[in-house]
């Protein structure tokens, strides 16, 4: 049975709070960035690393922290609060893999954790590789 209820549904729709969501995402996402910069500076100035090494280690540290907080059941609350501010940075990527791995645990190591881990992250990897391939080609052809 298809009947048109559009009019009634429309006048009862909740509007998403775009401004609040945008502002919180900006601040929280920014704070994660600032924290990453702090880590990087720490590795360069205190541990005397090269900039390349420090940045790689900073990325890995953020991923580790995200994975741990996901396991402790904290990261999903941050995600609910901050939206894109929490899932756009690399910490969000780590959260998507860790949460899928946790979810797959009961289905075994190979298919549960191994394959399940990429359920959400898989598309990010695929489109990340495709995008870098295209941009790399453009750069090679036009900006050499």
């Amino acid at each position: 049975m298809r009947k048109d209820y559009t009019k009634i549904i429309k006048r009862n729709t909740l509007k998403p709070k775009y401004f609040r969501n945008g502002a919180v995402a900006f601040v929280v996402g920014g704070l994660i960035g600032v924290f990453g910069q702090g880590l990087s500076d720490l590795y360069i100035n205190i541990f005397k690393m090269s900039k390349d090494h420090a940045n790689s280690l900073m990325t890995v540290t953020l991923i580790l922290l995200s994975a741990i907080t996901t396991g402790l059941g904290i990261y999903d609350h941050l995600g609910q609060f901050a939206g894109a501010g929490a899932f756009v940075p690399i910490t969000g990527f780590a959260n998507s893999m860790t949460s899928a791995a946790l979810e797959g645990k009961s289905e075994g190591i190979t298919l549960g954790i191994g394959a399940g881990m990429f359920k959400l992250a898989g598309s990010v990897i695929v489109f990340g590789v495709v995008a870098s391939y295209i941009l790399g080609t453009i750069r090679y052809l036009f900006f050499q």
Binding site: M1, R2, K3, D4, Y5, T6, I8, I9, R11, N12, T13, L14, P16, N21, T70, G71, G73, Y75, D76, L78, G79, Q80, F81, A82, G83, A86, F87, G92, N95, S96, T98, S99, A100, L102, E103, S106, K119, L120
Partner: protein, 332 residues
């Protein structure tokens, strides 16, 4: 249009059983549930086993409270949200009576009850177990994202109730009578947001309620309460609006299981949903209100969003259904 409302003369609720998770126990109706668990694993190794434990508890408690033995039960009619109706099928390994598995998404609570009532009314059966279950994490895993995933949910989202409810439907006279039932039609209101199922289901609920009233020539105030399954805050508003437009004012005695099972301070967005939402509220809370005669006649309208995650990705919409069962005090 042909009628699809059926009246019953000798169908009664002989026993009920409910089992819930911690969040439901902490909610305003916590005291009405028979059994509860400290965490969502319910002393089991994984969530699927936890849901089995809840359903097993609900059925066992319902049979015990009816005073019957397993041997007296003719049939179980049970369903859940998990692929292949897995939870019901696996749980019924532990019971000696036959099973009819049913799927009606979150409308399963009343789908199983009304089917049991029709069977009992046929006089071929004496005692039937009607049961259903849902678990927040098994449902999230199947229909949405991993539990610990950080993607935000909108305010319109609902929270799947962790629990199970069961009733022993019988031809033995008791103080709660199943008086009539209306079978739902599939209504598609062209909605496609799995995070706003209340809106998608409200038109189905209104369709069933209106057909029920028309088939039986009743006005809404015949009932002390018309309670929908899991329209939540958002869907309830849509339902009342559609009903008003159709000339039925039910705002004074409309309730929604999804709205009353949790309190405002619990992190459940727009309210509760899932098969267990309607089941535990009906077999816990509503049953109690009828037994203590605070309510005399209740129409329970279980709503179900019949979407399939694959077909949603293929740009299909969310069809919905609602089944209604009327419960009355048996005036002796």
């Amino acid at each position: 249009m042909k009628k699809s409302t059926y009246k019953f003369n000798n169908v009664y609720i002989k026993g009920t059983g409910t089992a819930v998770g911690p969040l439901e126990k902490e909610g305003p109706l916590g005291a009405y549930f028979d059994r509860d668990y400290q965490d969502n694993y319910c002393e089991e190794k994984n969530w699927e086993s936890a849901e089995q434990r809840l359903l097993n508890d609900a059925i066992t408690i319902a049979i015990a409270s009816s005073g019957l033995k397993n041997e007296a039960i003719d049939l179980a009619i049970s369903g859940d949200l998990i692929n292949q109706n897995a939870v019901s099928n696996y749980v019924m390994r532990d019971f000696p009576f036959p099973l009819l598995g049913m799927y009606g998404a979150c409308s399963t609570a009343m789908l199983t009850l009304l089917t049991a009532a029709l069977f009992i009314e046929s006089k071929k059966f004496h005692h039937i177990v009607a049961a259903t279950s849902s678990h927040n994490s098994t449902a999230e895993r199947q229909f949405r994202y991993p539990t610990e995933y950080g993607g935000p949910k909108p305010e319109t989202a609902t929270f799947t109730v962790t629990g199970a409810g069961s009733a022993v439907v019988s031809s033995d006279v008791t103080n709660i009578r199943v008086s009539s039932a209306t079978i739902g039609r599939v209504i598609d209101a062209n909605q496609n947001d799995p995070n706003d199922m209340g809106t998608a289901m409200a038109p189905a609920a209104s369709d069933t309620i209106i057909r029920h009233l028309r088939d039986l020539h009743l006005t809404p105030n015949y009932y002390d309460m018309i309670i929908t399954g899991d329209l939540s805050k958002v869907g309830s508003k849509v339902l009342l609006d559609i009903m008003a437009e159709e000339g039925f004012d039910i705002s004074k005695f409309h309730e929604d299981c999804g709205k009353i099972i949790y309190s405002e301070s619990q992190p459940v967005f727009s309210g509760g949903s899932g098969c267990a939402c309607c089941a535990v509220v009906t077999y816990g809370y509503i049953k109690q209100l009828l037994e203590t005669r605070k309510l005399k006649r209740v129409l329970v309208v279980a709503t179900g969003a019949l979407h399939n995650p694959v077909m949603l990705l293929q740009k299909e919409s969310i069809p919905a259904i609602a089944h209604a069962v009327s419960l009355e005090i048996n005036e002796v």
